[in-house]
Symmetry: C2
Subunit: 336 residues, 2 copies
């Protein structure tokens, strides 16, 4: 990958990438002294501007980038579908990058996106991302940036999400209405604000019904085997739950697998609901109740907002923070 | 999108795009007379070479393109995962394009990929693609091209596929072994060679067991409602099948839906098997027997072969036509 880039120059000079970029372009906003410093170092390090960089200011790269944790995931593949549709209509090209929930890889990816390769960037951050400087630099350098689903609360950029707290609240209330006395929340491990939002909806619903002390959260992750082990311990342990609320589809699938192994009947012995965009959830044994996120719409909206920024149009306040509601589909896994 | 491109110039001049490209680059292989003709028209039509074009010859675009029919499809999302992994290792960027099984859109996409935007191209062709000239032009212009899964037999380019005929043959024999006397094949409509390969495996197996006259094919497509209607008519008709072999996962899901509506018991009254890469097929009611394609491996291999061509390495004969076997996972939907 590119070794010497704007970011590296900026670091060595203790300047922002956007200052370095403007200095190299001879911007009138930058002092002669700074320009000389920047150019001297650029020459010394043999800095090669990205061959596409000039197209950003001239004819645009006509390319946007999408950074997502996984593509083997119904939610993200539906989001991609929405993004690609809008990009195609606009005559834009779409670069796709997968972080596999790896913060280091996310940083790597952003590192090679400097220098004008793209006109704008959409990201759903990895669940191991603990620091947002790599994203803040983009924002500071004036590159259009939009968050979707998994956002960073500290950076002032448009965000397209669903109503995670409300949806979790409703799903928890549904389980309570069907008679559950002990609901366990299977949470995503990591630092995502979306995890805490989903969990907070669950906790709020328990509190409203005076059952806050029954709450229990189990952290699950990308590894199926570890998830199944944790769920098995939970279901064989002393305080067996009668309801499972899975923060992501994968954990519901893991729950079904363990129940099959342990011969636990869903919904008679255990009710299950999950955030999921798997259309085939209706065919599960038993059919799985789901909280469906408007994935395609989130993708379309994220791309539409990004193209507005790229086109230098002013965003309305309601376009900076778009919330598209999720909806619950009740099926057999939560029937009484 | 770009209006005047190499292809348009080539058409007007009755030359190949590669000749036009070389003429514009002052190649010694092109006569002075041709160069003058090309340059005169380029000037007249105000032809703007793609700003990234020169990077192809100079420092490379470091970008490859992947064109697939859909992304909301477990097979293609797993393929993308494999491609992205190899590209990331090589320090390459990946452009993604979706055709939605639309030949016109596929042509549109290829049209804007001219002029050196990418160093190479991977494609799984749309099922409505009836003419391959848009792909042949790439090949003729010397742009590295690799087919995967859905290939074009007429173009001499590397292809990565699975053993569709053999896998279909084995799946059909499995249904016969479980006692099926009347197996219907749910085929993809369209012009894909992969459709005819899957169908031929089914027909061969029936023929081997002296049951060629029991064969029946129903064409299904992207529309769930139409598929369900056709399957409903089949299952309510005079000659009810006792086995369904679905060429793609979507048709198996449609079959399950219709069986639930009509109260037809799987596997007692109807056995079902399908090509599918849905890991959750094990959780279906009943669990679905599947022919699993090595999707991730196909993606990795396609990208690896493409990078060899981009790097001007010579391909071994066995790299030009790679076949990675599929495997059958027997579950309840085909139990006796």
């Amino acid at each position: 990958m590119d070794n010497v880039n704007l970011k590296r120059l900026a670091e060595e000079l203790n300047l922002s990438p956007s200052t370095v970029s403007r200095a190299l372009r001879d911007s009138h906003e930058i002092s002669r002294e700074t320009k000389d410093r920047v150019k001297a170092l650029a020459e010394k390090l043999n800095f090669q501007p990205n061959p596409h960089a000039s197209s950003l200011r001239q004819s645009k790269s006509k390319t946007i980038a999408v950074i997502i944790p996984e593509i083997q995931n119904n939610f993200f593949s539906q989001v991609m579908n929405g993004i690609e549709e809008v990009a195609h209509q606009k005559g834009y090209h779409v670069l796709i990058y997968l972080t596999h929930e790896d913060y280091a890889r996310e940083k790597d990816i952003l590192n090679v996106l400097h220098n004008g390769r793209v006109d704008g960037l959409m990201i759903s951050v990895s669940n191991t991302t603990c620091d947002f400087d790599h994203l803040r630099e983009y924002k500071d350098a004036g590159i259009p940036l939009v968050f979707f689903d998994r956002v960073c609360d500290d950076i002032d950029a448009p965000r397209i999400t669903t109503d995670d707290v409300e949806a979790s609240f409703k799903a928890t209330e549904l389980l309570l209405r069907t008679g559950c006395k002990k609901i366990v929340f299977l949470s995503m491990a990591g630092n995502l604000s979306i995890s805490s939002r989903r969990k907070s909806g669950y906790i709020k619903a328990l509190a409203k019904h005076g059952m806050a002390d029954t709450g229990q959260t189990i952290e699950c992750g990308p590894n199926d085997e570890i998830n199944r082990q944790r769920i098995r311990e939970l279901l064989q342990g002393g305080q067996q739950p009668d309801g499972i609320f899975a923060a992501v589809e994968k954990f519901a699938v893991n729950t079904y697998e363990v129940c099959r192994d342990l011969n636990i009947q869903i919904p008679e012995q255990l009710k299950v609901i999950s955030f999921s965009n798997l259309t085939a959830a209706a065919l599960f044994n038993p059919s799985l109740s789901t909280i469906v996120q408007p994935a395609y719409e989130i993708g379309r909206e994220a791309a539409s907002v990004l193209f507005k920024i790229v086109g230098k149009k002013t965003l309305m306040p309601n376009e900076k923070k778009v919330v598209i509601p999720s909806y619950i589909v009740e099926r057999k896994s939560t029937s009484r």
